[in-house]
């Protein structure tokens, strides 16, 4: 894989330096049958240092996960070597099966088939609470 030129795929750019690995795990990129390049701690004029992830496959990515981990990131969609779409990411209102509720008294601790759903309750402080028991997510 030539990391400089993806033909069909996704480039997640402007990732806060050091957060690429967390994104890699939460997006389950390890399960892809495609090449993934993580470029970490590179010099950025805008950010000082940043991480970049390049995915050499046209796959659906969960923008909410990216928004939760790093709302300042940008997602570029590449088709036939050309940038076709650029998306700015925002903090999502709702996260489904991204975080897990750790409250042992929560109904999700005994009913395994329930989705773990968190909602944004304080945007400034990036506080998410479990939709069932309202326990705050421990970042």
């Amino acid at each position: 894989m030539n990391i400089d030129s993806i033909q069909n795929g996704i480039v997640i750019d402007h990732i806060t330096a050091g957060k690429a690995m967390q994104l890699y795990n939460l997006l389950h990129l390890d399960t892809l049958d495609a090449s993934v390049a993580m470029i970490m701690n590179v010099v950025s004029r805008r950010m000082g240092r940043k991480d970049i992830i390049k995915i050499d496959a046209d796959i659906p990515v969960d923008l909410d996960v990216i928004g939760y981990v790093d709302p300042g990131a940008t997602v570029n969609f590449i088709r036939d070597g050309v940038l076709t779409e650029k998306k700015n990411i925002h903090l999502p209102e709702r996260l489904v099966n991204v975080l897990r509720c750790r409250n042992p008294r929560c109904i999700t601790s005994t009913e395994q088939e329930l989705s773990h759903i968190f909602v944004l309750t304080n945007r400034e402080e990036k506080v998410y609470r479990c939709v069932y028991c309202e326990t705050k997510n421990a970042n």
Binding site: N103, R105, C106, I107, T108, S109, T110, E111, E113, L114, N122, C130, V131, Y132, C133, E134, T135, K136
Partner: protein, 307 residues
């Protein structure tokens, strides 16, 4: 389908409407005696509770309805491993409305998401118990004539007491409300309640450990139990437990218009001698709970198109 899981599921105008209905039920009980005829309330209680279940059942009977009752997880399908979601779907086939108590936090929310009929949360672990708060609100309203311009003293276990947190949340939506938080250091109101509710809305409050000193300035004293198991050592518990026992002697410092509330059951935090004091309102609070449950059942059944 409209359900009530938390007190904040009800707007201020809806709570005011429920209180108006409750007051009307008290004045004209016969007008309501047949309103829920042929309707069924399912009380699904997966953990022990006497007063709340009886209150719901009495409420439904006084509306002319019937009750289907499940008590204790051991005798129900939950013991066979049935999920809350499946229980809610099944009971929806038999009843018109559900009142549910469950030891797990969020269980009522799961039931409401899956039921085809309204669900009332009758307590989900330490999380929420909205009909207790409705009982508290009606009691303050009936005793004072308004929920505005009132100084509420909350005394005892302010850390773990779900009724305290819900009452603060509900009362904070009325103007001129002030709180005095009376508790030992170990059981102070959690900082997230102070930050997310009181400070965010600019509600005035003060914290103290001295019940007697706070009493003269209060309109309402909401007592809760200081529980032995909340303390890390026996010495601290023994040092603090008697500070929060309300006695006729301590009440001499309080105003004549004070009203004393308690979500019950009490253990020893209000001396039995206080029961004779005209300012004691905790047994009226029990009665008010039934009337508010009647009003809530009526509201939800009407909204669901079942009345």
């Amino acid at each position: 389908m409209r359900s009530v899981i938390d007190i904040t599921d009800l707007s201020v105008s809806e709570i005011d409407g429920l209180m108006d209905t409750a007051v009307d039920i008290i004045a004209h009980p016969d007008d309501y005696a047949e309103t829920c005829r042929r309707k069924k309330l399912a009380t699904l209680f997966f953990e022990p509770s006497t007063r709340t279940r009886l209150s719901f059942e009495a409420a439904m009977y006084e509306l002319g309805g019937n009750v289907l009752s499940v008590t204790g997880a051991a005798t129900s399908s939950a013991a066979k491993g049935e999920s809350v979601a499946d229980t809610a779907k099944t009971v929806s086939c038999y009843a018109d409305i559900i009142a549910m108590r469950h030891p797990k936090e969020g269980a009522a929310y799961v039931a409401a998401k899956n039921a085809a009929i309204p669900v009332i949360n009758a307590g989900d672990g330490g999380h929420s118990h909205p009909t207790q708060t409705l009982a508290d609100l009606l009691t303050i309203y009936r005793e004072r004539g308004s929920l505005e311009n009132v100084t509420v003293g909350l005394c005892g276990d302010l850390k773990f007491g779900r009724t305290v947190h819900s009452l603060i949340e509900a009362m904070s939506r009325y103007s001129g409300v002030r709180f005095v938080l009376i508790s030992p250091e170990e059981l102070k109101l959690p900082s997230y309640v102070k930050k997310d509710v009181l400070q965010r809305q600019g509600i005035p409050y003060e914290q103290t450990t001295d019940l007697e000193a706070a009493l003269p300035g209060l309109d309402i004293l909401y007592m809760t139990r200081v529980q032995r198991e909340r303390f890390f050592n026996e010495e601290d518990y023994l040092r603090l437990k008697d500070s929060y026992i309300l006695t006729p002697r301590k009440l001499q410092r309080a105003g004549k218009d004070l009203r004393i509330l308690h979500p019950l059951p009490r253990v020893n935090e209000i001396s039995v001698a206080v029961d004779e004091d005209p300012r004691a309102a905790y047994f009226k609070q029990v009665m008010n709970g039934k009337y508010m449950r009647m009003a809530l059942i009526l509201m939800l059944l009407k909204e669901a198109g079942r009345l």
